[in-house]
């Protein structure tokens, strides 16, 4: 049977408007919400304007006040069951706003203060012949940015393969030593960064095996990066459904091919996350580099021969100086570090996007 529309119905159909019946509110609801918003707000404004209570304190008062007001509004409109709901929502919103404000204020101070230092020479020159009192027009952080890149690259080259191999051992090989390996990887993630530096210093540098250099710094960073990469990679490999492994094995695949061609590609995005988290874990670490990479005002490209400066060390050196220009330099270095991290992560995300072959 075919349905025919008479012109009247058709017109009515076309006239029908999009509506959202679930958004309809009663007046009682609107009024309750308005009161629940207005009263705490009025109290806060009154406190800020007419009392000597400090601003930060007022916001500490505001959250419980808002919870109470929202709870009352919920009780009036939805009954007892609404109270908990509204209290949790107010808390969740409050907590996220707090986090957001903290992060934005950190970024804001970093960007505003860092931008004062930023100039072409600051990005391209090193700090040879620059003292803390030298004006900002001279010298730059290129040598430190290069040092950070070099050391992070070295540590990633060491820690990422070992970390992923460890994760593969735990989730794919499932050998007898898995509980022990996991235990040690977990304890390793609790090693303070300064200990990682001390470890490289005492075992390799003081014994004369290697110089204070980018390589030594990379080794110390690798010690810190390894557990993060291994544990995150383990988590993401665990998420790969066993169906895929069995499916590959049922096709006559060896275990190695299953891991390389099915499991790892399926976990690609997660593996990239593991690498990003590993880099993020170390990139701002200062303590291990003090002992392993040292500092150097000149640009160093040989990772094995000489001490080398890095952005965290440059910040550390400059921020405690009694000269405003030196402090501004530190902010500038911090800004470069942050932008570098942002660029690295964006590139990694782009490379790690899921593409099917």
């Amino acid at each position: 049977m075919t349905t025919t529309f008479d012109p009247d119905t058709l017109g009515a159909l076309q006239l029908q408007k999009k509506t959202h019946p679930w958004r309809k509110r009663t007046t009682k609801f609107d009024v309750s919400v308005a009161i629940a918003v207005a009263i705490p707000l009025a109290v806060v404004i009154a406190l800020l304007l007419f009392s000597g209570v400090p601003g930060a304190m007022v916001f500490v008062i505001y959250l419980p006040l808002q919870m109470f007001a929202s709870g009352c509004a919920a009780l009036a409109t939805r009954g007892k069951r609404g109270i908990l709901d509204s209290v949790i929502i107010v808390n969740a919103v409050g907590a996220s706003v707090f986090t957001f404000v903290v992060i934005i204020s950190v970024l804001w101070s970093l960007v505003t203060k860092g931008l004062q230092a930023l100039s072409i020479p600051f990005l391209t020159q090193n700090s040879t012949y620059i003292s803390p009192s030298t004006p900002l027009e001279y010298g730059g952080m290129a040598h430190a940015a290069l040092g950070t890149l070099l050391i992070v690259t070295i540590s990633a080259l060491i820690a990422v393969p070992i970390g992923i191999a460890t994760a593969i051992y735990i989730t794919e090989v499932r050998g007898k030593a898995v509980p022990y390996v996991r235990f040690f990887v977990q304890s390793m993630s609790g090693v303070p960064s300064v200990v990682a530096g001390l470890f490289i210093l005492t075992t390799l540098i003081l014994t004369g095996a290697i110089n204070t250099s980018a390589f030594a710094g990379g080794l110390a960073y690798a010690v810190l990066m390894l557990p993060t990469v291994a544990r995150t990679a383990e988590e993401v490999l665990r998420l790969v459904p066993d169906d895929l492994r069995t499916g590959a094995l049922a096709l006559g695949s060896t275990r190695a091919r299953t891991v390389l061609q099915v499991v790892l590609p399926a976990a690609k995005t997660g593996i990239v996350t593991a690498i990003i988290l590993g880099v993020a874990r170390v990139i701002g670490e200062t303590a291990p580099l003090l002992m392993t990479a040292g500092k150097n005002d000149a640009t160093v490209t040989d990772p094995f021969s000489d001490p080398i400066s890095t952005l965290p060390i440059a910040i550390f050196e400059n921020v405690a100086q009694p000269y405003p220009d030196a402090v501004t330099r530190a902010w500038g270095a911090a800004l470069i570090l942050m932008v570098m991290v942002a660029i690295l992560f964006t590139v990694a995300r782009l490379l790690g996007r899921n593409k099917v072959k």
Partner: protein, 279 residues
């Protein structure tokens, strides 16, 4: 003796000697297979022969060990934690659990299709079909031909021929299942194990796969686990009925020609099950 009587006798004789005849030309044969998971015995003394180029259906209620059994036939069982096994599985006359046997080789000849479609998400449709060749290290040059041929066999070619380069995850569940069947066929197995391949499919896809199974059985031996009685009747030459009493390992109650199992079962439990009275 009239002609009709004579024919009846021949049929009777055939049935009487069927097991021997079957064993003589069986491509795959399970002998006294018992299976454990840790200390729990889930299968006991299963003897089943799968004659070359036939379809055998394994039927029985859930939890009676059919899927576990089918996984012993290509050594996937041993991958599960706590797995243990007694008995032997003969493939072309040799025990696949023999000390010199490589499970990778066994699984290449005895392929498997699972209940849940499991296409590889990192590969395209085409990549999935060819993945078996890549994973098993088989060198074949006529890739385009293999893709078209196996996808046609699996009844999927017309639906995907214009988007072979798309991600396999874009396909519907039924299409994914036919894709993994094509994938399993691409390595040219001699035996194909199918663990409830149609349980997630609509009737139209199911019919396509059943046609595929009939077509494939000209060249390969198929063992199919199914909960669908009509499917067993439609596709299988032989049927084995598995059953497990409460807290007891599963075993084969009755086996034989599908027509016999469904038309003239010897065991009351088989009769009840195939007529839908339990399970």
């Amino acid at each position: 003796m009239s002609t009709a009587e004579f024919e009846q006798d021949v049929v009777a004789l055939e049935q009487e000697f069927e097991p021997a005849k079957v064993q003589g030309r069986a491509e795959l044969e399970a002998r006294d297979i018992s299976v454990w998971f840790n200390s729990r015995k889930v299968l006991e003394g299963v003897n089943l022969a799968f004659p070359k180029n036939t379809v055998t259906a394994l039927i029985g209620p859930s939890g009676c060990g059919k899927s576990t059994f089918i996984r012993t036939l290509n050594r996937l069982h041993e991958l599960l934690p706590g797995a243990a096994l007694a008995g032997e599985v003969l493939y072309e006359g040799e025990d696949i659990y023999g000390p010199t046997k490589d499970p990778v080789h066994i699984r290449l000849s005895i392929g498997m299709v699972f209940q849940k479609p499991n296409p590889f998400p990192s590969m395209t449709i085409r990549g999935n079909v060819l993945s078996g060749l890549k994973l098993s290290g088989m060198k074949r040059s006529n890739h385009d031909e293999i893709v078209e041929q196996t996808l046609t066999s699996a009844g999927l070619w017309n639906e995907v021929k214009d988007r072979l380069g798309h991600a396999a995850g874009e396909l519907s569940g039924g299409q994914q299942q036919r894709l993994v069947i094509a994938r399993a066929l691409a390595v040219q197995p001699h035996v194909l194990l199918m663990d409830e391949p149609c349980s997630a499919l609509d009737p139209a896809s199911t019919l396509k796969i059943e046609e595929t199974i009939r077509e494939l059985s000209k060249d390969i031996t198929i063992v199919i686990v199914t909960h669908n009685m009509q499917q067993a009747v439609r596709v299988a030459d032989y049927t084995a009925f598995f059953l497990a009493a409460e807290n007891e390992p599963g075993h084969v109650v009755e086996q034989g020609r599908t027509t016999e199992i469904f038309g003239n079962p010897q065991d009351q439990r088989t009769l009840d099950y195939v007529n839908g009275r339990f399970g």
